[in-house]
Every structure is written in C-alpha cells, then in structure tokens.
C-alpha cells in the first residue's frame, strides 16, 4: 500500500451532549426539581389552592392542617400558595443577572487573559480590592444606595459577578494562550479580536458554561439573601426571602412553618442547580 493512504482512523463515536447528561441521575433529579419550580413560576396563580394575597385575619398563624397544608402566616395568608407563587421573582432576577455577569465577565476575561500587560495588572489590582469584601456585603450596600427595583438588582448582581467570572475566564484564557495554535493564528495573519473570539473562546466555553451554572446558584442565593435582609423587591407578589424576613422572628414563639417552607423551597432550587452544575462539569471532564 502506498505511504500515507488512510486505511481507517480513530473516529470516536460522538454521543450528543444531552444524552450524556440524561444518563446521570444527578442531572435528572436536579432538572426535575427545576422544571417543577419553573412550572410553578409560570402557572403559579392557577395551581395555588388559595389566593396568596388573601388575608384572613381570623385565621392567623395556624399550624399546617388539611385546609392549609403549609399553615398560615401572620396575616392569615396561605403559606403553600405563597410558596408556589413566590418562585416567580427568583426565576426572573437570577438568570438575567447571571447572564449579564457571564457575558461581561467572559469578555473581560478574554481581554485580560489574552492581552495581558499593563491593563491586566491594573485591572487585577482593582478586582482584588473589590473582592476583599464579601459579595453579599457589596451587593446590599449597593442596593441600599441604589434602590431595590428588579432591574437594579439584576444590574448590581450582574456587575458584581463580572469580576468573579472574569477571573476564572482569564485563567483559562492564559492557559490556552500557551498552546501553539495561538501564535499559529498570528502567523496566518489573524488579528487579536478574531483570535480572542474565534480561536480562544470556543475552547474556554466549557469553563464559561460551568461558571454560568455555578453562578446561577449563587445568584439565587444572593437574591434570596438580599430579600431576607429586607432588600427584596417591595412588590405585593409573594417572595420567599421577604416572607422569611417577615416571619423569622416568630421562631422564638414556635411558629416554624411560616419560615421553614420558603427556606426549604430556596434550598431545593439551589440544590437542584448544584446537581445540574455538577453533572455538566462531570460530562465535560469525562
């Protein structure tokens, strides 16, 4: 046979991503929980057994019973309905904030990681200074300053995520830049912009996706924590964090259901995202 004629090469069977994910129990469980809450967020008012805003001043602080599966709160409102409908705000703010942070953070990370130099040195100092403070603290300071509207929260959380995500992306970009295809691209005449976005970005995409999923969990954490501290959107729609904020003092009096169920709801969403993020990370690694 003549030299170099290809008899058969090592073509690997490419299983599509989603099928690999579905094989993992962590992904399935996590996705199921998320799906449940997304349904609640979308169709909440239709599913809820009672009107979440209806106050029954004669039936306040009632323990869970057949009429009210999760009991009633200080104003006699049905906790179950409030928990179901309360999923809405989190599912709006958190994903959008994470998206803002991811887009900005990835771009910043690409620039700093690839171009380096003085800009990188300066920016890193500033990022380090900002990150010397706990994120929650920064967030609530800004919210105190700028107000609690939904858009503001999205922007604040998004902007705080930007340096966090940029730092991870920057490291990944720096590692990629050590590989020979980067100078190879320069040698065929490619410009920096193209190298960053067409050559390097596809290779750090797995990192970005993992960051997005992890930060999403943190965004929910942040939104809920801010609401707990009293900085949730002050709308009439029920909100898990705000409800906890209003009712946690009653724990001393033994009224546990009013704060427990919203807390469990938050916990379940976060755990679900965590499971999904873990499954994605495993699939990319394996």
């Amino acid at each position: 046979m003549p030299t170099g004629v290809v008899a058969g090469d090592a073509e690997r069977q490419q299983t599509p991503l989603w099928r690999l994910l579905l094989r993992r129990p962590t992904f399935v469980v996590g996705a199921a929980i998320l799906l449940f809450w997304i349904v609640c967020a979308t169709f909440g008012t239709a599913i809820a057994p009672h009107d979440p805003l209806a106050q029954q001043l004669l039936a306040t602080n009632q323990a869970p019973s057949s009429a009210h599966l999760f009991g009633t709160d200080q104003l006699g409102r049905d906790v179950l309905s409030r928990v179901i409908v309360g999923s809405q705000s989190i599912f709006i703010i958190a994903p959008l904030a994470t998206a803002v942070g991811t887009v900005l953070g990835t771009t910043l990370g690409l620039i700093l990681g690839y171009l380096g130099g003085v800009v990188d040195l300066l920016a890193s100092r500033v990022v380090e200074a900002v990150l010397a403070l706990p994120a929650i603290m920064i967030m609530f300071l800004f919210v105190v300053a700028l107000g609690v509207s939904t858009t503001t929260q999205i922007l604040i959380i998004g902007f705080i995520f930007t340096p966090l995500i940029a730092r991870t992306v920057r490291s990944a970009v720096q590692v990629e830049s050590q590989l020979d295809y980067v100078p190879g691209a320069r040698l065929v005449g490619d410009r920096s912009l193209r190298i960053m976005f067409v050559e390097i970005l596809p290779n750090v995409l797995p990192t970005v996706v993992v960051e997005f999923t992890v930060r999403l969990g943190y965004a929910i954490f942040a939104v809920a924590s801010l609401a707990f501290l009293g900085f949730g959107p002050q709308l009439s729609t029920p909100n898990w964090g705000t409800d906890i904020n209003a009712n946690y003092v009653l724990l001393g009096a033994g009224y546990w259901w009013e704060s427990l169920f919203p807390a469990l709801a938050i916990a379940s969403v976060i755990i679900a995202i965590n499971l999904v993020a873990d499954a994605i990370e495993q699939v990319f690694a394996g």
Partner: protein, 317 residues
C-alpha cells in the same frame, strides 16, 4: 526572603489603599444627607445645614477623604451618626463578638473539612466520595439563613436543645458561651465545609495520582506511611490558601447569620449603619472587614510560600 515579604506587604497596602478610596467614594453615592438623617425629616433646613457644617460634610471630597483616612490610621474613627458617640468602642465590641463566632466556626470546620476531603479522595469515585462531594457542594450553596432556619427549627423549636435567639450575657462562662454559639455556627460550618472539603479532596487526589506516590508505593512503604508522609504534605498546601479565602465567605455569611440570630456582631452593625446612612460607622466597619480579609490572605500567601520548598528556595534568592 525578607524582600519577598516586604513586597507582599507592599502589595497588600496598595490594595487596602485602593479599597479605602472605593469605600469612601462609594459612601458618597449613598443618597441622603447625614444631617437630615440625624435630625429627622421635620427639622428646619437651616438646622440641617448647620449640622452638616459641624459634621464637615460640606467640605471638598478630597479633604474629607484625607481627614478620614488620617483619622483612621491614628485610630480615631469618627462619631457615629446614629448613636452620637465614638465609633471605635462599638466597632471593637462587635468585632470581638464576630471573631468569637468566626473562630468557633473555623475551629470546627477546618479539621472536619480536611478530613472529609481526604476521605473522599481516598475513596475517589466510589459511593463515599460521591456522597461527601455532593453534600459538600450542596451545603456550600445553600443560603445561611435557610440552613440557619432549619437548624433553629430542629435544635431550638423541635428538640429545644439550643436557645433561640442565642444570647451571650456578659461574664458568662466559656462553656456556656460556646453553647450559645453553636446554633449560629451551624450555617457557617455548612457553607465552609463544601469549599474546604473540595480543595482538600482535589489536592489529595492530585497527590495520589502523582509519580512520586507511585515511587513511594513501589519502594515498599506501607500505605498509611505513603499517605501520611508523601501525600498529605503536598495535598494540604493548596488547602491552606483556600482557608484564607474562606474568611471572605465567612464574613459575608456573618451579615445574614447575625441578622437571623440577632447577634450583635460586625455584620449586624454594618447592616444597621447602612440602613441608617451612618457613614462613619459604615465606612469604618467595611474598611475593617477589608483589613481582616487582607490580613488573612497575606498570611495564607506567606504561609504557603514558607511551606512550599520550591517557592521558599526561589523567594530566598
């Protein structure tokens, strides 16, 4: 070596300086006039202006900043708008309380986290590992108030083992102070466990798969000796750095935990100060937190360099 230390400290000082600038000027963004906040919405405009002048908030920003920062360095942190009294004693008292809580949490979590991570690594891929890893990462992601509430319900309302809200009376014995600290420490411990265990696990796995562990095993050493002498020494190094960065998460968690349990630590202090637009208290508090974090980070960096032979010999050049 000395040069390295100096350089590291120098960098930290620069970062702190940047931080102070950011804090001060961010504080200026907060809406609301301090004198108005103190005197209330009904006072006369002239009174407000007079108090503003007295407080010095009508001076140029740069002057305000300089006098603030020099005051800080000398140790006088100004007067709180809310309490009309010096900031330092309140800040220090709150700091001490938070330190107790934080220290307690760290003392519990560091051995627990490291143990968890090492065990997970030694049984990597198997059930035990998956359980520890998933529990750790889930617990780390849960908001402290959620875990705090569940813990409070279980231990306080349900089992009635621990007091809610936990109160520390002045002059209480050490043990009873600890008893009161357990409940607020639980959410902190849960958050930190995940990160520390993950780092310890990653470091241990990397060491286990390394060539030098292969060499050590093939020399005929007992597994226990290999782990103790060869693995741990190398795997725990990155964990130390992580512990330092965890102080950041710890402090963040303090705000929420202290609110939930009504614990008068620095988190609570800052919260009230922000809400009341009490700038001197707020800025002093936030800067203090920044200093604490920097100290922890620099300490961890230095410790890592000293313990890592490669970096130590290079730093000494």
């Amino acid at each position: 070596m000395a040069i390295y230390l100096l350089r590291r400290l120098g960098l930290a000082v620069i970062t702190l300086f940047l931080l102070s600038v950011i804090i001060f000027f961010a504080g200026q963004v907060l809406p609301g006039d301090p004198a108005r906040a103190i005197l209330g919405p009904l006072s006369a405009e002239s009174a407000v202006r007079a108090l503003d002048h007295q407080l010095g908030v009508d001076r140029p920003l740069l002057t305000q900043y300089t006098s603030w920062i020099t005051g800080m360095l000398r140790g006088s942190m100004g007067e709180s708008y809310q309490y009309q009294s010096p900031v330092e004693p309140l800040l220090v008292a709150a700091l001490v309380k938070s330190a107790k809580l934080g220290a307690f949490a760290l003392v519990v979590i560091i051995p627990l986290g490291i143990l968890g991570g090492v065990i997970a690594a030694l049984s990597a891929g198997r059930q035990v590992d998956r359980i520890i890893t998933l529990t750790g990462s889930s617990a780390a992601a849960l908001p402290e108030f959620a875990t705090g509430i569940v813990a409070a319900i279980i231990f306080s309302v349900g089992l009635k083992l621990l007091p809610f809200p936990p109160q520390i009376q002045p002059g209480e014995s050490f043990l009873s102070q600890l008893h009161a600290l357990i409940l607020p420490a639980i959410p902190l411990v849960l958050v930190l466990f995940g990160y520390i265990a993950r780092m310890a696990r990653a470091g241990t796995i990397e060491a286990l798969e390394s060539d030098y562990v292969r060499t050590a095993t093939l020399k005929g050493l007992k597994r226990v000796v290999v782990i103790y002498r060869h693995v741990l020494r190398n795997s725990l190094l990155p964990t130390i750095t992580v512990i330092a960065t965890q102080t950041g998460y710890l402090i963040g968690g303090l705000v929420v935990v202290e609110r939930l349990f009504n614990y008068q630590g620095i988190g609570n202090l800052i919260f009230h100060a922000a809400n009341a637009k009490d700038f001197p208290m707020l800025e002093a508090g936030v800067l203090t937190i920044g200093v604490v974090y920097m100290v922890a980070t620099v300490g961890a960096d230095v410790l890592t360099t000293v313990l890592n032979p490669r970096q130590r010999t290079e730093a000494a050049r």
